[in-house]
């Protein structure tokens, strides 16, 4: 299978929490870049920190990347020393051509995916990633939309369109369900409803800015306990 998506998996070193193997297994049709960010206080020049901690950090990073190798996911590692974690993740995502960033969380299994959709912005990339994710598992997916008066398509149409794309990509119709919600606090509602699911897939709807993620994905990933894949929107 061709590897279309590259997923950036950032870890905060040292003593990072490994990614559960159930999540790693879903990445089989894709490639991964495992990024170790070794946080340093401003007192320590990054080059000094690197000299002293590089060997240990690289060993830890290799251990963290092992589950990916075991699952036959093509994986590369990057080790960065410094202070600005988010900026590093963003920079490495661009340099390594990663279109998805995984933010870690708790997951016992991957049976239920939750995919909130804002509009048709970044639509292709999000749905092609969801289709890839589903092809590696037996999970079901719930497409979700919160209605907004600025919608160009009605929520029904948007979700139907999204479901059609997944079916075209080879996902069984009975694995897909749709859910509409009335207007409200977008990120709060995604976090609340997302709690019923195992894994979230969030799409950036605005072009990726120097700040990590868009406003909504940033809030959701900060508040949710679930692992979340954030699909970037790298168009300039």
């Amino acid at each position: 299978m061709s590897t279309t998506h590259r997923v950036l998996v950032p870890f905060e070193l040292p003593d990072a929490t490994p990614i559960p193997s159930t999540i790693v297994d879903t990445l089989t049709p894709m490639a991964a870049v495992v990024l170790g960010h070794y946080g340093l206080p401003e007192q320590t020049p990054p080059s000094v920190g690197r000299d002293q901690f590089e060997a240990d950090a690289q060993a830890e990073l290799d251990d963290l990347a092992q589950p990916f190798r075991d699952a036959d996911v093509p994986v590369e590692t990057r080790l960065v020393f410094g202070k600005a974690r988010e900026k590093t993740i963003d920079r490495v995502a661009v340099e390594e051509d990663c279109d998805v960033v995984l933010t870690p969380g708790e997951a016992d299994g991957v049976d239920r995916l939750f995919v909130p959709l804002r509009g048709t912005e970044n639509f292709d990339r999000i749905l092609s990633f969801v289709a890839d994710l589903l092809s590696g598992t037996d999970a079901t997916v719930t497409l979700f939309h919160i209605e907004d008066e600025s919608d160009r398509l009605s929520g029904e149409e948007l979700l139907a369109d999204a479901a059609d794309r997944l079916v075209e990509a080879g996902v069984d119709t009975d694995r897909i369900s749709r859910r509409l919600s009335a207007e409200g606090d977008v990120s709060g509602r995604i976090v609340d409803i997302g709690a019923e699911f195992d894994v979230l897939v969030l799409g950036e709807t605005e072009p990726s800015l120097p700040r990590l993620f868009g406003l909504v994905p940033a809030r959701v990933t900060a508040d949710t306990d679930d692992p979340a894949f954030v699909v970037r929107n790298p168009e300039e």
Binding site: E42, Q43, P46, S47, V48, G49, K83, R91
Partner: protein
């Protein structure tokens, strides 16, 4: 391929880091000291000092684009002139910055005592407590505070602007008569004293490895921040001189010495009577930030020297627990506390300036060494304009200031040179075999001789 060091400082934060490192004792504490030497012409002293620093800043900007690594001044001089001069410069730059930080802390204590009803005899005690606190903070490690730094710098600049505008209404022109009361010699002496006000520009070079687009942002950041500060200093000093009775400035400090809080002295007339409080609060903010930045930046000198085998290896060790170079910070902190406790405050300022002038003279020489040697590894993307005349002016200007600074600071500068040489001979020489760009020049000379070339 990227070097995987984070580069996340743009031009604006680079300028504010530099301004943040410059704004502090130079403007909040030193004007009165300069005034006692030069009279109202102390204004010219600030401009003159800036002009003498400028060549070194240009030289440094060029070298920073060729070696965008931590270490700054020390690194450039070491790579240009070899480890002997590297040792002298490293020790000199370290001392200068620690002296400056201790002076800032004493000034901080003085302003703090304007806010709280405590005996003014406690200035040094307060300074010692604050110093200990800052050292602990640095050992434990702090998050990048570029944003906090920008906010403080903005607040201080806005307040200084308001101070100048407001003072414009109460300045008495007669106070500038006679202008150069102590003659041109007095101006030069005062310039030597306030030289250290511009030393903060060093800070940019020491964070060079974190600056994005270093080829553009390093030189622009240095020149921009220096230009802004020269204007700010000149305006504020005019306001200070114009608002205060000369006697207050020169005798209201500890033991009848120059005032340590000159900006607050006349501020009672400003901001509807709350000027003293406003200025004191801003001074405390700026001086705290300066002292903290000073401890952080000065600890990089022993760190960098240790990595080059010019100081014990332990000084480069990063604490497993705090992820900070604890030993380098503790050594710096110990010196800081001893200086505050033992050295009279006016001497702290003079010595800091003397060491800085010495180091900046070396910086100019270092650039000349690099250019003359033509070593291949030296590929600056920014080339300082006016070479070599600018460097010669900087060097001569620096030495001229040094001769006017007084006996003790001059002895101090001599002591650094002798001490640096001694330390190099006893410790560094056996452990290093670098010869710097100057070594390359000498090699070339030798190989040019007919005997060795075939």
């Amino acid at each position: 391929m990227s070097d995987d060091l984070e580069r996340d400082l743009g031009l604006y934060p680079t300028i504010t880091i530099s301004m943040g490192a410059m704004i502090g004792s130079g403007i909040f504490v030193l004007p009165a000291l300069g005034f006692t030497k030069a009279g109202p012409a102390v204004v010219l002293a600030y401009v003159l000092a800036g002009l003498v620093v400028l060549p070194a800043a240009l030289s440094k900007a060029e070298m920073a684009t060729a070696m965008p690594e931590s270490g700054g001044t020390y690194l450039y001089i070491d790579r240009a002139m070899g480890p002997l001069f590297g040792t002298i410069a490293g020790v000199g730059a370290w001392f200068s910055l620690v002296f400056k930080s201790s002076f800032a802390l004493v000034g901080l204590g003085a302003y703090l005592l304007l806010l709280v009803p405590l005996s003014s005899g406690l200035v040094k005690t307060v300074a010692l407590v604050l110093a200990a606190l800052i050292v602990v903070l640095n050992v434990v490690g702090t998050e990048q505070s570029g944003k906090a730094q920008s906010i403080i710098v903005t607040a201080v600049v806005v307040t200084l602007g308001a101070y100048v505008l407001n003072a414009g209404f109460v300045v008495e022109p007669t106070r500038f008569q006679p202008f150069a009361a102590k003659g041109s010699g007095g101006v030069v002496t005062a310039a030597a004293f306030v030289f250290v006000s511009y030393a903060g520009v060093t800070k940019i070079a020491s964070v060079a490895e974190e600056v994005e687009d270093p080829d553009r942002n390093l030189p622009l950041g240095m020149l921009g921040s220096m230009g802004i500060m020269m204007v700010i200093y000149a305006l504020v000093v005019v306001a200070v001189v114009g608002m205060n009775d000369p006697a207050v400035l020169s005798t209201s400090g500890p033991n009848g010495g120059p005032s340590l809080t000159p900006m607050a002295d006349g501020a009672g007339q400003l901001f509807g009577g709350v000027g003293v409080v406003v200025i004191s609060v801003v001074a405390v903010l700026a001086l705290t930030s300066m002292a903290n930045a000073g401890v952080l930046a000065s600890s990089r000198f022993p760190l960098a020297m240790s990595r080059d085998s010019l100081a014990p290896r332990r000084l480069a060790h990063v604490s497993e627990r705090f992820k900070t170079p604890r030993n380098a910070i503790l050594l710096t902190g110990a010196l800081l506390l001893v200086l505050i406790a033992r050295v009279p405050v006016v001497e702290l300022a003079k010595l800091a300036s003397a060491f800085q002038i010495l180091v900046f003279s070396f910086v100019n020489l270092a650039l000349v060494a690099f250019r003359v040697s033509g070593v291949e590894s030296y590929q600056p993307s920014f080339r300082a304009p006016g070479y070599p005349y600018v460097q010669v002016v900087g060097l001569v200007g620096g030495l001229a200031l040094l001769t006017q600074i007084g006996t003790l600071p001059l002895l101090g500068a001599g002591g650094i040179i002798v001490g640096g040489i001694a330390w190099y001979l006893l410790y560094g020489r056996a452990r290093t075999d670098r010869e710097g760009a100057v070594g390359a020049i000498l090699d070339r000379r030798r190989s040019d001789e007919p005997v060795t070339s075939d």
